[in-house]
């Protein structure tokens, strides 16, 4: 698939905007707890990447790879993604951070995670088109 240079530039731009929003939400109120959101969303694709190679090399016949390890990786991914969205809401709910900072960090985290998803969707189809 010809995902060219333009895609890379666009995605890196979006990633930079996402990190800008997160860091701005920390720096404007001198409260650096929303930086955890960036860490969470960066960690989010990790379980899928780790567990994707577990147990799916037996026969290769099952199209929808249904090994328990892969399921566990997806489960962990969903937990981490929801954590990334829930953490600023909860911190804002108990007045640890400002609510505007929460909104900015959620938007930034969404942009960062969307970038990761779009990047893996655009560039993983070259080697194999499963999933």
């Amino acid at each position: 698939m010809a995902a060219g240079l333009r895609t890379v530039i666009l995605l890196s731009f979006v990633l930079a905007v996402g990190f800008l929003l997160i860091i701005l939400s920390c720096a404007l109120w001198q409260n650096w707890l929303p930086l955890l959101v960036a860490l969470t969303f960066v960690l989010a694709p990790l379980p899928n990447a780790v567990f994707a190679h577990c147990g799916s090399d037996e026969f290769g016949s099952s199209y929808d790879s249904s090994s328990p390890a892969v399921d566990f990786g997806r489960f962990l991914t969903a937990i981490i993604v929801v954590t990334g969205f829930a953490l600023p809401i909860i911190l804002a709910h108990s007045d640890v951070i400002n609510s505007k900072a929460a909104i900015m960090s959620i938007a930034g985290g969404g942009l960062v995670y969307g970038t990761i998803l779009a990047y893996s969707a655009a560039f993983s189809q070259e080697e194999s088109d499963y999933d």
Partner: protein
């Protein structure tokens, strides 16, 4: 007059319904993701109440007031822990072994797996009942204001959402195998 013949062993106390949906080939993936999301929402709903309680210190209402009358203590954590243990027990059981018609040889293994499944469901139901108990006995009956009964409602919603997550995971893990089975035949 005779009863109609059942297609299951009538000595069994609890039957495990395995609903068969074939809604698509990505059903299992969606189910697992949805279950994880529900699980996270459940636990964050309760942790929200705990963090809120930990941060509602002295000046919670008018200045010069006393400490808030009630806090989230370890009693509030017990139903969630029960639900979590039940969740783990339910999902650690091999589903084919519960079904028992695969010819595993040892029929007592099937019996034991069903016993553990029952323990898991009992732990989850106990967590739900315990959370409702905490809500009523600790918060509603003492006539705390809305701000504090929220802790109890968060506790109940944690148990309910964890049950929903277990159900979604159960259904999602069972459907895909049926689908593939039909596909390969």
């Amino acid at each position: 007059m005779s009863l109609p013949r059942a297609n299951y062993d009538p000595r069994r106390v609890c039957l495990n319904p395995f609903p068969e949906f074939t809604l698509g080939k990505h059903k299992r993936t969606i189910g697992v993701y949805l279950a994880g999301a529900l699980f996270a929402i459940a636990n964050w709903a309760f942790l929200d109440a705990a963090i809120l309680s930990a941060h509602s210190k002295n000046p919670w209402g008018q200045p010069g007031n006393e400490d808030p009358p009630v806090h989230v203590t370890f009693v509030d954590w017990i139903p969630g822990i029960c639900s979590l243990l039940g969740y783990l027990v339910i999902n650690l059981i091999d589903k084919d072994r519960i079904r028992g018609d695969e010819g595993f040889g040892d029929s007592r293994a099937v019996w034991r797996a069903r016993l553990f499944l029952f323990i898991g469901f009992a732990l989850m139901a106990g967590g739900l009942a315990g959370s409702v108990t905490v809500l009523i006995l600790k918060y509603v009956l003492n006539n705390y204001p809305e701000q504090f009964t929220y802790y109890g409602y968060a506790n109940v919603s944690q148990s309910v959402l964890m049950m929903l997550s277990a159900i979604v995971l159960w259904i999602g893990q069972n459907t895909s195998s049926e689908y593939e089975y039909n596909l390969t035949l």
